[in-house]
Symmetry: C2
């Protein structure tokens, strides 16, 4: 059987996610993000299209780097207002049976003990369909919201993250043994206390001295998602992540990142195929190639280039509002502050320069990711060639309109992929982890979380 | 129209809430607490019975005071395992239209900035049906889970709470003006940035310097629930709470607490009727008085008195496991550590003494609250007399079996109350706050939150 392509939908509990301005399109429903109906309709749609998961981005701050002000972000609804993503899961789980949920939670601001319980709760309620996108945060405005003067420096954030993961693994994997829960009504014993252990973690940043509050959930540790693009971020992903989200403007860039991630995973003692790599992609499709191009032109009439610059300024920490539109952007001098946003542009073609205006136009649809415009068959072929040429496992699909962009893929691209034998016609049974990796519901012995298990 | 009686259901995202051991009863479904089906069935049932709200208790620790060990709590499932209550709300909101949700969240361990967003998110998704039960925490085991040596002293916790409320009020009430959100597709402006303000809070415990991440939700500030029983707790409730949960073994005690709370609310500049006071009650009912008594006897065969002592030890901080069953408990010497659990026993009848065994038997059904056993008509009459004699507004109903105890009340007691003209036949329109107070969706001008509003 040819390699199966995996699809995630990329959304956020906000109005304008990756395509600033498109919320003004008459067919867009993004501004009903604050209703249950939007999310349950979306979840049903994605399950109809056999998507592996809905991946929910999040950010705990406002994009106020551009022109040193939150004005553009607020006026153009650039990822603000933004509501909490975790609160959406149980309603969507109720109307679906297989769809997974990858929820972004920044570990910088919530302690492992209550956070581990939240994830265990969601894993119970979804019967093992929860994933956690591990994020360390990148906006100064988020740190100020928390009462801090400024956020922890980039590499420092990964030290914090490493310590956090150890504490969380212990709560999920080491507190309640398998078989600790008896549910023995006749014998009047709910649990065997001898098989339940107090976790003691004394790390540089976190201390825990507690029994995990939740009984073991189907997956124990949620499926771990990560999107680190820096060297330090890739090392972290290679060590901990099961699903990695990457982003880049060309196959060359993406192929390089994917190969590098698998090398690093092998170096960390893991099977390189234990990483499922999703690359970001925006798809505009219709019945015909021409209709898709027309759709694209229609969308262009609704973009907000200023919104795109607000987004890019937030991602990179560079104020594009202090530059002229025709000014060429030089990234190298602020390399430390760079996120994948800038690496995408600079590494694609080192000889090519980008002006502020070019960046704005590029980022206004699908953020910093590449875009495919074409009929269902054309898009399917293009996705196949991306997989063949880069070694990724699938795509994290951003929307232009929601739920329209997802509906178009479900109705037009998915059948083409299925006809080519590269896309499932039915979900595999079991938890999200079982569906993704075709083995048990728990992390494999080669994962660092396994080292904290009793008897490991 | 006679005064209308209000009913809340009292539950917790755990197996054994207030009636230790009853999870072993063949008709009990409490151990399916970790499924969506349990919660959506319960929510539908409560809405059928026109309950005002489902009140979800929570605790972020384990009852390990008894015999200085978590063993009894774990074996008898005494409020452990306990999952996160917030994660339940969106699924229950999806299958109901009117039921409110009062969710307990301890403010000691989550910063105002992300917490305010979580509540705003739930207020959006439920269309204004969310309430927050403000808790400061009481278990040392919770503090240890958070990496602390021990919890903040009791009165200090209320200082922290006061500061927390100020920060949260500013985020909910002062950041986005009414009219800030335009959703103007034609004019391509989502919001008017001039009407959105950065909140600056510099309190003794919390600092916030941020725009609230959520646009205004129907209620802005969630309906505020509180259950403080100490003098300091009552002052806090009188100042901030809209719904107060109280508990006590007799009408005399409850009447005294209710009157005291209303006096304190008046002293704080509020209308005493702006407090909706619920007292805890456990109801065992059936078609006839005799059938109800038989049911009670059947339940008694499933109680865990040791579980009850573990619960009481956790609530009071006194290790009842270090005492003989016939030993008389003297509470006065540890008055500072007392919660309402002990005040309930000691203030009911100052001349009566209680042995450890008597406390265990009393607390094993319905925890520390009173109990009514009888036919629907008998229970309805008793509830009416409680309201008439104490001045409370309604009842926070604990279960013996779940959802059986709630179903019995819905099917047998609610129709009797309706026939007496003291219970709604339909919900009032609007948000939870509108349903409870018969005026607008926002807090009234006399509430301290109103003082932070722009132009206040």
């Amino acid at each position: 059987m040819p390699k199966q392509i995996r699809l995630n939908a990329f959304d956020m509990n906000c109005v304008g996610h990756q395509s600033p301005g498109l919320w003004t399109h008459p067919d867009d429903r993004a501004d009903s993000y604050n209703t249950l109906e939007y999310w349950t309709d979306l979840a049903r749609l994605l399950e109809r299209g056999k998507f592996d998961a809905l991946f929910l981005a999040d950010v705990l701050g406002i994009y106020d780097v551009y022109k040193d002000s939150p004005r553009t972000a607020l006026e153009q609804a650039v990822q603000v207002p933004v509501n909490d993503p975790m609160m959406l899961v149980s309603a969507m789980a109720l109307v679906t049976e297989h769809l997974g949920f990858g929820v972004t939670c920044a570990l910088s601001y919530e302690l492992p003990y209550p956070f581990a319980r939240r994830m265990s709760t969601l894993d119970h309620l979804t019967k093992g369909r929860i994933g956690w996108n591990i994020v360390t945060g990148y906006l100064e405005s988020a740190a100020r919201g928390m009462g801090l003067e400024r956020q922890v420096a980039h590499d420092g954030r990964y030290d914090v993250a490493e310590d956090y993961m150890q504490a969380a693994y212990k709560l999920w994997e080491a507190s309640w043994e398998d078989g600790a829960v008896l549910r023995d009504r006749k014998g009047r014993r709910f649990a065997d206390a001898d098989k339940i252990h107090r976790v003691r973690h004394e790390g540089p940043h976190f201390k825990v001295d507690a029994i995990h509050l939740s009984e073991p959930s189907p997956q124990r540790t949620p499926v771990l998602f990560q999107a680190g693009a820096s060297t330090r971020g890739r090392d972290f992903a290679a060590r901990h992540a099961e699903c990695v989200f990457i982003n880049g403007p060309s196959k060359k860039v993406i192929g390089g990142i994917a190969a590098d991630l698998r090398r690093r995973a092998a170096a960390a003692g893991r099977d390189p195929s234990d990483l499922v790599i999703f690359t970001m992609m925006t798809v505009i499709t219709d019945r015909t190639s021409r209709a898709a191009q027309d759709k694209y032109r229609d969308y262009l009439g609704h973009v907000s280039e200023e919104g795109a610059l607000a987004l890019m300024s937030g991602w990179t920490g560079l104020d594009f509002g202090a530059m002229r539109p025709d000014e060429v952007v030089r990234f190298t001098d602020k390399a430390d502050a760079m996120t994948s946003a800038l690496e995408a542009f600079t590494t694609a073609d080192p000889d090519r320069t980008w002006t502020v205006g070019e960046i704005a136009r590029h980022a206004a649809i699908g953020g910093r990711g590449p875009m495919l415009v074409g009929s269902g068959a054309e898009v399917a072929d293009a996705l196949l060639s991306w997989v063949a040429d880069t070694g990724v496992d699938g795509f994290n699909l951003a929307y232009v309109l929601t739920p329209g962009s997802f509906a178009d893929v479900v109705d037009l691209v998915v059948p083409e992929l299925q006809a080519r034998g590269v896309y499932k016609r039915d979900y595999a049974p079991g938890t999200l982890r079982q569906k993704l990796f075709g083995r048990g519901p728990r992390l494999p012995a080669s994962h660092p979380a396994a080292a904290v298990r009793p008897g490991a």
